[in-house]
Symmetry: C2
Subunit: 319 residues, 2 copies
Amino acid sequence: MEAKASAPGKVILFGEHAVVYGKPAIAVAVDKRAVIKISENKEDTIKVYIKNLNISATIDQLNNHIIIDNGNPGILKYVLESLKRVHDASPVTIEIDLDIPIGAGFGSSAAVTVATLAAASKYNHKNLTKKEIAQKAHEVELSVQNSASPLDTTISTFGGAVYLAANAEEIKKLELNWTYPLVIGFTPRKEDTGKLVEKVRLRKEAYPDIINPLLDAMGILTETALKFIIEKKYSYLGELMNINHGFLDCLGVNTKELSNMVYTARKTGALGAKITGAGGGGSIVALCPENNLKILSALKNIEDAIEVNISHEGLEFID
Amino acid sequence: MEAKASAPGKVILFGEHAVVYGKPAIAVAVDKRAVIKISENKEDTIKVYIKNLNISATIDQLNNHIIIDNGNPGILKYVLESLKRVHDASPVTIEIDLDIPIGAGFGSSAAVTVATLAAASKYNHKNLTKKEIAQKAHEVELSVQNSASPLDTTISTFGGAVYLAANAEEIKKLELNWTYPLVIGFTPRKEDTGKLVEKVRLRKEAYPDIINPLLDAMGILTETALKFIIEKKYSYLGELMNINHGFLDCLGVNTKELSNMVYTARKTGALGAKITGAGGGGSIVALCPENNLKILSALKNIEDAIEVNISHEGLEFID
């Protein structure tokens, strides 16, 4: 017996950091996915393998415990929390195929969580709906991280582009029929997301009269981007991405390497380019209706880069 | 008979571009100067030499005409307009010694204008006061450029640090008893100031709901810097410079090279670093209470750089 599912990673186009202060955000699912296969095994434990990350581990679901054989355990906490919600603890082998870079703002944990919940739900004949899976996936992220926006898990479940309204009061799937490739440049993450969020908070507390209007303007920028997406004026998004990058620089999460990649992408013909995710190292996203191969190669010369496209498919069950 | 005077260049610390929209600015005079010597000659014309720029020319003051023998004539327009206001058109030789980089936001034209007016006024026994010279220098800049803020000519005349209030309603000399060196990094200017000002205007017109609050926040940032200067909390200025740089990035006047220098300066130990002047190529300024030699050398490795100190001396007559 086996069950298989996959779910996509995401890229934030507008609103990172500002979202912490109740501002809206826009993100898109991308064609880099977590594929999870769950199959019965003859052992008496749950085994997990992530081949391309060289991770192998044993999960003791009943005792809420992960025994690492090899590799970094971070992502496995999401697997354990997912299993606890839909799996009967019977011995299985979980094979994870992950082509989403970890810890670079691509929502790899949300993708692994959504796909694990889906595969395990199918394996256990629970037939959860996508809505139920998205709900449980958000619970998993909350349980592992203590705090989490529902943005990543919603996008990974439903795919496409998603608008998270102010104060997270509404999550709306957007019609987005573009074919613009995105080029993602990434540097090794140097500061963790929590520390970067804290850094922004300290700057906001030190200079509220400067930073609060800036955060308000970031919210208006995301609303303006939403308007352009609804009106299908995609080419207008480039300049907004560039302005958004400047705001992130004001907040103190830019670095020399990110800035170098952002300006290289723009110089090489990107319509717009900005930090995506928390910054401080991490990733940049460039909107590339043209010149995508040239930009990809220019960014690879600096650090590392991949080309992604928007994935309209979210969670998929694989027969 | 001869007369000699010198006047300093300046660096903008806060408020460039925002000043166009009535926001305040803060700038300081630096120890890079224009030295002007006017001496009687036996020819029947006014000769001008700028040795280090390899410029030589003849000025026909009565016919309002410059005949270039060699070099770029831009700066000579300020010499002619200055002479017209204080010189009797008699044959003289004007030697200009300029250690201020031209066209890099250092106020070289204001320094040349102030020093020329002063030297020519002395030569002609007019004994203008500093206030009268500052006033005439502003008239010269207006006449050559059609528009000009009185900031550069005021700083060059009076030295030290100067605060230009909102809507240029007041120019105030600030007490500034610091000894922090500034390191200036500069790239060849690629876009002229007028085009950059126009670029910002277009962005403001396209996105008033985003850019207007940003300009307001830039004004508040300069007021906050003024408060720190008055309270002698100079070390707080670094973070404000960094935030100000982000705002200039939002406005679209940053470049890959400027950004690289700004982040290199910060990484090498600058308290703060930002674009100074119009951007689009041009210069950056780093506040360096420590590590100034290290930062100077790091920036020289990228493009070119000089160390400057605040000059408390403005216009000086030299005996």
